[in-house]
Symmetry: C2
Subunit: 152 residues, 2 copies
């Protein structure tokens, strides 16, 4: 097994060795999301205890609205968007960072004319996501900015 | 303690909440490097088992030439550079990714007119770096591209 160092060359936010996987997550209300596992799941990368992924959301799309026990570390690379984070809406643009705390309900939206792309790092060993209850959604949607993102 | 989610807004590859630390590493031959710990060491971020750092190397500068048992996951964000990786020189530009395997000797160089900036993710618990022996350096410098980077 080749477990040595490597360089993956990027071109237009794509990497020849990395497939673009259609991503559905485990929550609800996702649309137009691809996942690109950059480092951590390739051959010989088992020494990494965390996985470095690139997610891209097409204009108007959004990631799953979900929560899980494992935290996320996110760095935005391209586009413009918003994140619904624990019921609050924040604008996002390149180099913005997001800490998604354990069990925080979160959803990323691409709101510009180009895709929203971001690095998202997670533990190799992690739990799966859970969607919110309808009651929680209704409470979050009392905020007009959140309601607009959620289409309610 | 506030251990909830957060957004750090970036502006010109700087983040208001994040100090730029002059970085010397533990190896040799570093010059003009700052470290910005984006996520993992701030208040309430203890759930992250890994640390997301942004490093920036000024034009003509380089990171420490070192090796350590913990691997690196690197994503280039800005500038142009080269990495000396297990004795081989690779060009770097934005969106390129680098896997630095355990105990791989490595050094990043900023070779363009603007700084080389990259995300570098590591385990929270990790060992410190070690410089190479002179004998190893001499062997690496038999490659002209490596010798040029090393100034030999």
């Amino acid at each position: 097994m080749n477990d040595r160092s490597k360089v993956l060359k990027g071109e237009g936010f794509r990497w020849a060795e990395v497939p673009a996987e259609r991503y559905e997550g485990t929550g609800t209300r996702f649309q137009g999301v691809t996942r690109h596992v950059l480092l951590g799941e390739g051959e010989g990368e088992g020494a990494l205890h965390f996985i470095t992924r690139y997610f891209e959301i097409e204009p108007g799309g959004s990631s799953a609205l979900e929560r899980h026990a494992h935290p996320h570390s996110v760095v935005v690379l391209r586009g413009a968007g918003k994140v619904l984070l624990e019921g609050t809406v924040h604008d996002l643009r390149p180099t913005d960072c997001v800490y998604v705390a354990p069990n925080a309900l979160h959803q990323f939206h691409a709101t510009g004319s180009e895709p929203l792309g971001f690095i998202c790092i997670v533990d190799r060993e992690r739990d799966t996501g859970r969607p919110p209850a309808e009651e929680e959604l209704a409470r979050i949607a009392e905020d007009p900015a959140a309601a607009a993102l959620l289409g309610r």
